[in-house]
C-alpha cells in the first residue's frame, strides 16, 4: 500500500498521507471548506462529524462531511469556502 494519496481540491492536485480525511486535503490545499449562508469562509471546528462546518462536495455529491470521509485516489473535491 502506498503511503500517500493524491486527490484534487478545486482542480488542484494535493498529496496527503494515506488514511487522511478529505478535510485534511482541503486544508492542505490552502482552501477553506465551505462558505456560510452569509458568505463567510469556514473550516472544521469539531473534527468529529458533529459541527458540519467541513462540508464539501466529493465526486459531485454535495454536503459531505469531509472530516468523516477518507481520501481515495483521484477524488474530486469541491470546497467553496
Amino acid at each position: 500500500m502506498s503511503d500517500s494519496v493524491s486527490v484534487r481540491v478545486n482542480g488542484k492536485l494535493v498529496t496527503v498521507r494515506a488514511g487522511s480525511t478529505v478535510a485534511v486535503a482541503v486544508v492542505a490545499s490552502g482552501a477553506t471548506c465551505r462558505a456560510s449562508v452569509t458568505g463567510q469562509p469556514r473550516s472544521p471546528l469539531c473534527g468529529m462529524g458533529t459541527c458540519f462546518e467541513c462540508r464539501v462536495a466529493i465526486d459531485g455529491e454535495p454536503q459531505r462531511r469531509s472530516c468523516q470521509v477518507l481520501c481515495q485516489a483521484n477524488m474530486e473535491i469541491e470546497a467553496n469556502g
Binding site: 498521507r17 488514511g19 478535510a23 471546528l45 454536503q63
Partner: protein, 426 residues
C-alpha cells in the same frame, strides 16, 4: 446505492469508543449476537482514534485485540438517525440500514462545548479535542504555532500531543481560578496513579506556559486566524498563532438517548446500578451518563454489556471499580466550572448559530430556544443545534424541549428506513 440493508442483533451497541467496545465484548461473552455501530470510518471513538502516524496507544491494543478476535459485528460508517422500540434506522454512504435489536446499549460519547467569542468562526479556530482529532486524521502541524484555550485537563493532553507532532505550542489558557486549580491538583495527587500521570504530562509539557485565570476574548485574521486576544489575570494581550484550539469541557451526546425516551438528569442520561436507563432494555455507558473519562467509560461499558445479557453477577463485581472512578469525576466537575465572564465575550454581531449565521443580538430578542429557533432559525441548520444549543444553554439558560427524527440530515431515500413503531416517550 440507496438500497436498504437489514441487520438484527440480540444486543446492539451504538458508539464504538471505549465504552461501546467494552460493552460489546462483555455482551458477546454470553454467546449472543452483538452489533457495534459507529459513524466513523473506524472503531475507537475519539480517544482511541487511530493516528495515521503511530500505533494505537498501548492501553487500547488489548481491547482492539479482543475485539478483532470476538464475534462482535462492527458496522462502520453508519449514522443512526432514528430510533423506535426494538429498532434503529441508520445511513451509510452506500445505503440505509435497518437494525433490529433485543437489547440496546447507548455509548454515544461526548463532544466539546464551544462558546462564541468574536472571531470564533474563523478557519483554524478549532476545538481542542477537535484539533487533536484533525491531526490524527492526517493534518500536518509540524512547525505550526498553536494556542490552546478553554478548560479542563484535556487542554494539557492536547498540548502534549501537538508538541509531539512537531507543533510549537505557544501557551495553554485555562479559564479556571488559581484556587480551584490548586485544590484540584491536591485532590488528584491523593488518587493512586494520578500523580504519576500528572508528572509525565508535566514533563511532556515542559517549557510551555500554562496560564491560569486566562481565556480567549477575540480572534482576528483575514480568512483564517492570525491573532488571538487573551485575557489573563485582568490584562489583555495579543498572541499570533496559526491555530487556536479551544474547548470548554465536554458535553454528552444525548440526542439518541433522548430520542429513545431515556430520562435525563441535569443533561446526563439517568441510569441505575446496572447502567439501565429509564427505558427497560436500553442501557447507557460512558460520557452520556456523566463525563468521566476512559477508565470509567470502560467499566460502565462492561457493566452494561453483562447486565444486558442477564449476567448480573459479573456486572456486580465491577461496581466497586466504577465507584472509584466516579470519585475522580466529582473532583473534575468541582475544579472547572465555567466563569461568568465567558458569557460576556459575544458581541451583538458575534454569530452564535454557525449553520444559519444567527447573531447574538438576534437571539437576545427571544426568550427561549424554541422561539429563537422558530423566528431566527437558530439551530435549524445541518448540525441541528449540536454546537449552538449548548452555547445558548450557557449564555441564556435555554433548554432544548424536543428531539425529533432525523437526528442528522439524511438522504431522502434513507427515510424509507422508517422504524415501524413510535419511540416511547416520557
Amino acid at each position: 446505492m440507496d438500497s436498504v440493508k437489514h441487520l438484527r442483533f440480540d444486543v446492539a451497541v451504538v458508539g464504538a469508543g471505549p465504552a461501546g467496545i467494552a460493552a460489546a465484548l462483555a455482551a458477546a461473552d454470553s454467546g449472543r449476537t452483538v452489533g457495534l455501530i459507529d459513524d466513523n470510518p473506524a472503531a475507537g471513538g475519539q480517544i482511541w482514534r487511530t493516528a495515521y502516524n503511530s500505533a494505537r496507544p498501548s492501553a487500547s491494543s488489548i481491547w482492539f485485540n479482543r475485539l478483532n478476535k470476538s464475534a462482535v459485528q462492527i458496522v462502520r460508517g453508519a449514522r443512526v438517525f432514528h430510533a423506535a422500540t426494538g429498532e434503529l434506522a441508520a445511513e451509510s454512504d452506500e445505503s440505509g440500514i435497518q437494525i433490529g435489536y433485543g437489547k440496546l446499549i447507548l455509548a454515544t460519547g461526548a463532544r466539546e462545548l464551544f462558546l462564541p467569542f468574536p472571531g470564533w468562526t474563523l478557519p483554524n479556530v478549532m476545538g481542542a479535542g477537535g484539533l487533536q482529532a484533525f491531526v490524527k486524521s492526517g493534518l500536518d502541524i509540524s512547525g505550526k504555532r498553536i494556542l490552546i484555550a478553554g478548560t479542563g485537563p484535556l487542554l494539557l493532553a492536547v498540548g502534549a500531543y501537538a508538541r509531539k507532532c512537531g507543533a510549537k505550542v505557544i501557551g495553554i489558557c485555562e479559564q479556571t481560578t488559581r484556587s480551584r486549580m490548586a485544590r484540584f491538583a491536591l485532590k488528584m495527587m491523593l488518587i493512586p496513579g494520578k500523580a504519576a500521570e500528572a508528572a509525565r504530562l508535566a514533563f511532556e509539557l515542559r517549557g510551555i506556559p500554562y496560564w491560569i485565570d486566562c481565556w480567549p476574548v477575540a480572534a482576528f485574521g483575514n480568512r483564517r486566524v492570525e491573532t488571538v486576544r487573551i485575557s489573563r489575570r485582568g490584562q489583555t494581550s495579543e498572541i499570533e498563532c496559526d491555530y487556536l484550539a479551544c474547548g470548554f469541557h465536554l458535553i454528552p451526546n444525548s440526542e439518541l438517548p433522548r430520542m429513545c425516551g431515556c430520562r435525563l438528569r441535569q443533561n446526563f442520561v439517568q441510569v441505575d446500578d446496572y447502567q439501565q436507563t429509564s427505558v427497560s432494555g436500553i442501557f447507557c455507558a460512558g460520557e452520556p451518563t456523566g463525563i468521566g473519562g476512559l477508565e470509567l467509560a470502560l467499566v460502565e461499558g462492561e457493566i452494561a454489556g453483562y447486565a444486558a445479557t442477564n449476567w448480573e453477577d459479573r456486572a456486580k463485581h465491577l461496581f466497586a471499580k466504577r465507584d472509584h472512578y466516579q470519585k475522580v469525576v466529582r473532583i473534575l466537575l468541582d475544579a472547572f466550572p465555567l466563569r461568568p465572564e465567558l458569557k460576556t465575550l459575544a458581541r451583538p454581531d458575534t454569530l452564535v448559530c454557525r449553520c444559519e449565521d444567527v447573531s447574538h443580538e438576534r437571539l437576545c430578542e427571544h426568550a427561549s430556544w424554541r422561539a429563537a429557533k422558530l423566528h431566527a432559525r437558530c439551530g435549524m441548520g445541518p448540525c441541528q443545534g449540536r454546537v449552538c444549543a449548548p452555547a445558548t444553554e450557557f449564555l441564556f439558560g435555554w433548554q432544548i424541549d424536543s428531539i425529533r427524527p432525523p437526528l442528522f440530515p439524511v438522504r431522502c431515500s434513507s427515510l424509507a428506513v422508517n422504524p415501524s413503531h413510535s419511540a416511547p416517550r416520557n
